[in-house]
């Protein structure tokens, strides 16, 4: 986006980008306020005609001052453009108003990450999520999830669901290729994958959902109607002594990014010990180096910043080469890599080396 050849223009653009970044917190909150006080939707409805400050005042309960400040905030944030005396919505403004992912990301950044991000330096120095104390006295966000303030919890769950749910639907054909009889779903969480996978699997099939006891209890309740096609296995796979069931396929969806590299290795080694010679492992992740779109790369890297200062202080979205190195180190060969699953995901298929 910044391939500008004319040096003066390039400098000007860089100066502009630097100022947008310098005032990013104000522009972010200005953009949220413009959306939440209804001004952006008014601009959207006005289309190419645009609106004057006075017209916004007439159509809202806002005064001249508030309406003007919000319209100008939109201009500075790139949501509106101005040709005297009218403001019109930009394409970026339309995304900010209407795009579900953009809204989910922004509300996550506001409710979960905003204050915490002030502690990023401390977090990186200590290897701890120092910002998490802004949300409560927890050592990881997972542990505190049930106790978060309602708006914070909603933003967290919306973010988690938006970026995780349903991506795995486009992997079911890969996972079920060759009709495996037993799939082991490591970090199965609330059971969404387990439900979708067992519904799609033919004939004699079992899925074992592996997770910590609290997650298993939740999944067990959610999946009660599936009977014996789903089994449950409680363990903490981060423990070097952890054992896993023997399966034809092991599935880990956006699970390994929750752990530091040394724990990823411990987990992969547990899989390696359990897997039979014909077994396959699928790893679904978002790698920051494998994004086709800068928009997606921004989301992936920002999620790493969230991991660093809020979630646990040690995990991250990996570089694909680092994940491949860890898989090899644990005794696997990557036999297939599909890099455009959903918007931002990669699916790695591995076999015992």
């Amino acid at each position: 986006m910044m391939r500008v050849s004319d040096p003066e223009t390039a400098n000007e653009l860089a100066r502009y980008e630097a100022q947008k970044l310098a005032f990013a917190p104000l522009l972010f909150q200005g953009a949220r306020a413009m959306r939440d006080l209804g001004v952006l939707e008014l601009l959207y409805r006005a289309g190419n005609d645009g609106l004057t400050v006075g017209e916004v005042v007439s159509a809202t309960s806002l005064g001249v001052y508030a309406a003007g400040v919000l319209l100008e905030a939109g201009l500075a944030a790139g949501l509106a453009s101005y040709e005297a005396p009218r403001f019109t919505i930009t394409k970026t403004g339309v995304y900010w108003l209407s795009d579900r992912m953009t809204r989910v990301n922004a509300e996550f950044a506001h409710h979960v990450c905003f204050r915490a991000s002030e502690h990023l330096v401390e977090s990186l120095r200590a290897g701890l999520p120092a910002g998490l104390r802004e949300l409560g006295p927890f050592s990881t966000v997972y542990e505190g999830l049930h106790a978060l303030a309602p708006a914070v919890k909603k933003a967290w769950l919306d973010f988690d669901h938006h970026h995780s749910d349903s991506v795995f639907l486009s992997c079911l054909a890969d996972v079920l290729e060759g009709n495996p009889r037993h799939v082991v779903d490591i970090g199965g969480n609330t059971g969404n994958f387990a439900r979708a996978c067992s519904a799609r699997a033919a004939g004699d099939f079992t899925l074992t959902l592996v997770d910590l006891p609290a997650q298993v209890a939740m999944a067990r309740a959610n999946l009660a109607d599936l009977g014996s096609r789903v089994r449950f296995y409680e363990t903490d796979v981060r423990l070097p002594s952890a054992s896993l069931p023997t399966g034809d396929v092991y599935w880990m969806s956006q699970f390994l990014d929750c752990f530091p590299e040394q724990e990823i290795l411990v987990i992969l080694r547990a899989v390696r010990r359990a897997i039979p010679p014909h077994g396959r492992v699928f790893v679904l992740e978002t790698f920051w180096d494998r994004q086709r779109y800068e928009a997606a790369r921004t989301c992936v890297i920002a999620t790493t910043l969230y991991f660093a200062c809020v979630a646990n202080g040690t995990s991250r979205m990996l570089h694909s080469a680092d994940m491949e190195r860890l898989l090899v180190e644990a005794g696997f060969s990557v036999v297939r890599a599909r890099h455009d699953v959903g918007l931002a995901h990669s699916l790695l298929e591995c076999v015992p080396a």
Copy 2:
């Protein structure tokens, strides 16, 4: 910057801009951390060769995790680019590292505005600087200035000085044209303009510095060496009953933007009552609609957001047409407007209508 004709590219760019905005707080703090932990300077020194994560680890006390997170934050924030396995600094990164204004703005946004900006909606609804309570129990920032935490106060003063000091030097020739014998400096504050102006003025000359008593006391101490060339006049010009001395020239530098429109009108009317027929008025301001550069416009509008949620909840950087309307309403004619004074300023010269 966003004039893109290919629709797919335009959508992609808009989606990218929306995501950058959605994660702006994390990218902002990531960019600060990258700078403050020395990674950006290392990249700068490495020039076009760039650095790998491992090379950054070797040159700092950072671990692989922290170094990687910071380099990727730089990538997402536009400060660094990546071509495997090396990161290099971008032009925006150079500004972020070395440009004084960028740093002053960013530290102001962090120390003064960050938490306060969370209260922007409440501020605009109430017409009060609701974010100010994050800094202390004050009703305006001016009143609380002496009591701010040291880092906050430093950031505030650096911002104030950077954007106000010395701009007026390029207006002295205008002000002193025709050798006025008496200049009235309204909102003279600490006396910087008074000192520069009286030093440059020839012969029989007096400057009267008008301000609130506390400011006058400070200015009086600062300007003690100038003797009778500078006089002092204590008043609150926002009061409709305020009177002002008679002068050949009235000077108001970045003063009127501190007040809501109705108070600007009160102040201008006080000037109109005092000014003799031959008198001139100079108003130096930054108008958001008169910026040649998007970088400057961003600074000006962001400053309005600061006014709204931190400073006083009622003032703003004006549109030049609004200022001209107020001047006319108070009984003045704008006889000259110079719009590229310094980086972002406009100088209006007015006479009684």
